[in-house]
Amino acid sequence: MISISQVSKQYKGAPRAALEGISLEIDKGEFVFLVGASGSGKSSLMRMILREDIPSSGSIHVLGENLIGIPNRRVPHFRRKLGVVFQDFRLLPNKTAAQNVAFSLEVIGKSKGFIAEAVPDVLRLVGLEDKANSLPSELSGGEQQRIALARAIVNKPAILLADEPTGNLDPATSMDIMALLDRINLSGTTIVMATHDRGIVDRGQKRVIELSQGKIIRDARGASYGESE
């Protein structure tokens, strides 16, 4: 599903490599926590998986695509098989919840009919069918993140990348989001989640990959956040 081998990334002018000799395999249906201090390389790694960036050396295969050799014009089609959520939700402020979700389908050319069915379905899945016509500014942080999740999964991606999805949320709301992610994972979607939240990782008892200074220092299943930090 995700296969990374000896990946290094050196940004121009940076004193040390952002990633150094990273190798890992993530299988279908896994739920992986990516932990580590700020600057440890979590976000760089996520960017590589999304093909927003290309490693300086090494190889990355995601969903059968070789991300080093993939031509630029095929990148958009590759990204349609991935869903992404961020700490800052990234919703369009002038569109309603339903329009935000629909937007992601419109821009990949889905038919009106498909959108009319898929959007209410996914809003129901995240429990916000009654907030379909609310603007993001009228929603709480947790609700906004659920809309962002709905947008990420409406196209039924095989992999969901979550970059600190609970970073801006209080503990109770974070629990709701985690429950939702668990449900999405149970339906077969592979989830890679970068997080700083020790409580969430410890409660999850899932596979934990810990990065430090661009290197993997721990890759353990059923693990806790760890001693560092």
Binding site: N72, P76, H77, R79, R80, F103, I108, G109
Partner: protein, 304 residues
Amino acid sequence: MRFSFVFSEMGIAIKRNLSMVISVILVTFISLTFVGTAGLLQQQIGSMKTYWYDKAQVAIYLCTKTSPAEICPQGEASKDVQVTVTERLKSTTLAPYIDKYYFENHAQAYKTFQKEFKDNSVAKYVTPEQLNETFWVNLKDPNQAPIIIESFNGLSGVEEVKDQRTYLDQIFSILNIASLAALSIAALMLFSAVLLISTTIRLSAVMRRREIGIMRLVGASNFYIQLPFILEGVVAGVIGSLLAGGAILGIVQVFVQGFLAKQLPFTSFVGIPDALALLPLLVLAGGGLAAIAAAAAIRRYLRV
């Protein structure tokens, strides 16, 4: 591909960026008006050239009593001079170049002069003797005038041999300079239009960077992301060129046909059909230039 979506995105982009879009429209409008004017001016020069060059004659002016003594020492040209000229015009060396010629004596020249300068006080003071007797020569090919000039220049009794086209060439060179000036202004304006379009499109892209970011994340194709921006430029360019087309139609209708054609009734001027023929070219130029400028701008801004 859903065009309704692309067009609504384009509409949003234009609304947000309206003042820039209007400036693009105005700059394209003005620059293409200059382009069109230069084009019409060239057509005008072309049609006047064919019209007048065909009518242009070579005049062989014979000496009169009042001709300057250093050219015509023997004063008024004698009948012999007329005979010599006629013989030469009929000779096998010159005849092949000549379409027709005719002789105008003092009385005829006076009549023509009185007619042409009817309203001018000079007509009162001119006597028939002051006007040259003239051989008017029409050539088969007006470009061969130098042959006639060579043959008769310096012949005793001939005051001057003049190709009428030299008068026309002055007028045409003035018109040519005017159309070149219009073209250079147009080139400058078009250059600024291209810069303005790329700035506008980049500004539009910056204003919509959230949308663009999300579109890229969810896997919208580059074409789909770029199309609304390119269309935004094209719409502005096409509106500008349509305005330019309208302005040119207006100039032709009001100024050329309404004013010039009435002032100079024996000259053929460019008309509405010429301007209409120019219109699609202007629209193509405006739209095409805007599309290229917008595509280049957005391509540099949006990498995968």
